[in-house]
Amino acid sequence: MAIELKKPSRRQLLVAGGLVGGGLLLGVAVSGPSRRGLADKLAAEGGERFVTTWLKISPDNIVTVYVPHSDMGQGPITALAMMAAEELEADWSLVRAEQAPAEKAFANEALGNRFLDGDAVPPMLKGVTAATWTKVAQFMNLQVTGGSMAVRYTGHHGMRVTGAAAKDMLVKAAAARWGVSPAQCTAALSMVRGPAGQTATYGELAADAADYSPSAAPKLKAKKDYTIVGTPRPRFDIPAKVDGSAMYGVDARPEGLLYAAVHLAPVFGSTVAAYDASEILTRRGVRQVVDFPGGVAVIADNYWRAKEAALALDVTFDTKGNEAISSETIFAAHDAALDAGKSDKDFETGNAPRAFEGASRVVEASYRVPYLAHACMEPMNCTIWIRDGKADVWLGVQDPLGARARIAEIAGLDFDNVTLHPMLLGGGFGRRIPIRAGFFDFPSEIDFAAIIAKEVAAPVKLIYTREDDIQHDAYRIASTSRLRAALDDNGFPVAWENRYVHKDEPGEAPHIPYAVANQSIRFVEIDNPVPRGPWRSVAHTQHTFFNESFVDELAHEAGQDPFEYRRAMLKDQPRHLAVLELAAEKAGWGRPLPAGRSRGIAIQQSFGSIVAEVAEISIVEPGEVKVHRVTAAVDCGEVIHPDTAAQQVESAIIYGLTAALFGEISIEGGAVAQTNFTDYEMLKLADTPAIDVHFIESGAPLGGLGEPGTPPISAAVANAVFSLTGQRIRQLPLKNHKLSPAAGQFARAAD
């Protein structure tokens, strides 16, 4: 398809051009104007044409929004389409949305890395040629969905600006057609109207609009004029998810498909020493075996046959001595490293050592959390067909381009010869990111699938069993945090010290929002072969439990109400304060509860949003926590889609509550002791508390919502447990604690 390009100005984010033969294209000029041409070739069909990289208007006046993010259930496809449609003045009933193909024209690297302010082109992308794109993809995690960033970066900077620019171009085209000025025309509901009652649909104007340059900084609508954003529009993805037609990675069925199951080394870091496949190769349907460093795959014509054979396969592994590793040795190593006193600086202010010297009261406590698995409902899988120097991949992944690059590298193919067909994700939560920049790099099922596919002359679908998934995850790290605070005469901290294990992402997670003049937050690193990776809200999960539990200890030590104590320390943090107060108010903080119930509170800012949660609990036989109600207050700046926003916070709370109550991956003999949902327990319908979510639209920059609901819940519940029982929970999960409400009555009597 021949492209006639208009020259974009150097600072322009959006470039326009026309197809030879008429038409309109509009793209984001991150890697130069060629991106737009590429996008057109890949996604425009049958007389349709792009208005932007993310917008396409077809002759029947349907607007299609291509969203460069994976939908793992968090609803970005619909929310981002709403943001584009709002500025475009589109008729929502004529808007469609889908995930962008795994092509670099649709990458969100500039948005994810916040390069869209000022000069649009990140220096490292200037002059990038096609041949170097694989490398760029590896470095930049293109198309990554994570960090709760879809709406706050892609949506705000990308969708709104492109939607508004497209609308302006359509209006100009209409004005020229009618010989009037653009100011005399109005756009609404996918139609432009002229001063004499003329009308033209966007579909009719798209081709003419190509003659106009897009504005780099189109005027955006005022929030008060929104008709789509801020309303609960039904999600595009839902209907296919109630009739069985939604296609996840595990559902890919290319012609001639074979299935792979793996017998993985249970002990981390092991390699295959020997195996005997003679018996299983005689089994019905079994075609071949393929070994790789960490295991052996069995290929068969039905997954059950492959799985049964893989299970029966006799394999010996070289465990490299790693069977000596256990949770006990790992936590002992934490203690040894912390005892050694040699740490690296995370954040320091004032002079904490001096403040401790002069302190009248010092409180200290040591906290600990175990490894956690993600346990996505859809077991890990990857389908690859390699033939004629090319590969087709069917995969649901949080980073389609990164996965493409990884598979190309392992299969020894050019990036351009790998086609990725993005499939739905049956859960993500950080597990489905194949390249984990900043995390311990480990071979994943995607790597194994590529190794296997190279040896199989047919498309082959690798599926992990649930046992493989639980025992070969990239785990939320196990961590230890030793906290110490010096209190002044009023009971408020003048010094805060934290020595913790593993600096994780995001870097600010261990920091506290409270006004403490002297702080010393430092960390130690321990190496071990347990793979680790991002888990919903990443480092915020452990640090919010540590910090917000410890603050609760300080409040108790000071003899103050935990809410009022936090409130006093947040008086110079208006957003935090408002969130904390709203959560307390909606939860009825301070109001009497039925006998045997108590409340706990916690707050954390993560991914740009501030969330406070109040948990209301009781203790039920035999000494277990029952969570009755969780009240959440959230300041995410602005709410785009109120229904999915609330749903994401509910989801994040339930995900975090499962971990707080039950979540524990323990290491025994160098391997994961848990196997399936039978011993890695999940919250179910009967255990689910009532959840109320309240939003504050402070107008602050858009915050994320996929993750920020998770961090506060464990501390909120643990603090409620203390309030009721007097038992301070310094290690998760709660199931490991035998709780008794009677103990609390004694504790309170002693106060």
């Binding site: 793992m72 259930g73 968090q74 609803g75 609960p232 039904p234 999600r235 993805d237 839902i238 209907p239 998810k241 109630v242 009739d243 069985g244 037609s245 939604a246 296609m247 996840y248 595990v250 559902d251 069925r253 019905r284 039905n302 997954y303 059950w304 799985k307 346990a375 996505c376 409902m377 859809e378 077991p379 739905l424 994700l425 049956g426 859960g427 993500g428 939560f429 599926i463 069993t465 649930r466 046992e467 229904d643 999915t644 749903q647 509910e650 989801s651 994040a652 339930i654 995900y655 399936n676 949902f677 039978t678 999940m682 919250l683 179910k684 319908l685 009967a686 689910t688 009532a690 959840i691």
Partner: protein
Amino acid sequence: MSITLRVNGTRHDLDIEPDMPLLWALRDEIGLTGTKFGCGVAACGACTVHVDGVAMRSCVTPVEAVDGAEITTIEGLAAVSGAAEGHLSALQQAWIEAQVPQCGYCQSGMLMAVSALIAENPQPTDEDIDAAITNVCRCGTYPRVRAAIRSVTAA
């Protein structure tokens, strides 16, 4: 060995092992992928189907045990519920109204479990729902699942 599976009103004569779980016969032999693999040990309910109207976890149900039985999967739920061709069942509609699914992976099993419950017990108490619906959803759609059930039953 020949096994006869009657799935969503269609007869399938399959030459498969009698101990093959129904889940894999549905997915890999017949090609109905709406029924999901979640755990393989009947612990999560993602694979729930109806066998003669009763909810069963197909990942641990050998095909020989359902030879000749009437099996309904999510693909056949609307039809078996009496919905017109191309339409959804009232329960599926309720799922859309309440915007229940997030990632959606567990929802086939969730809908099959709930539809079997309501068929047997049209006005379940909350305790009935708690006891019957033990499916795992990692996205935490439980509050909406309950709300959707309540929209088609009396609280």
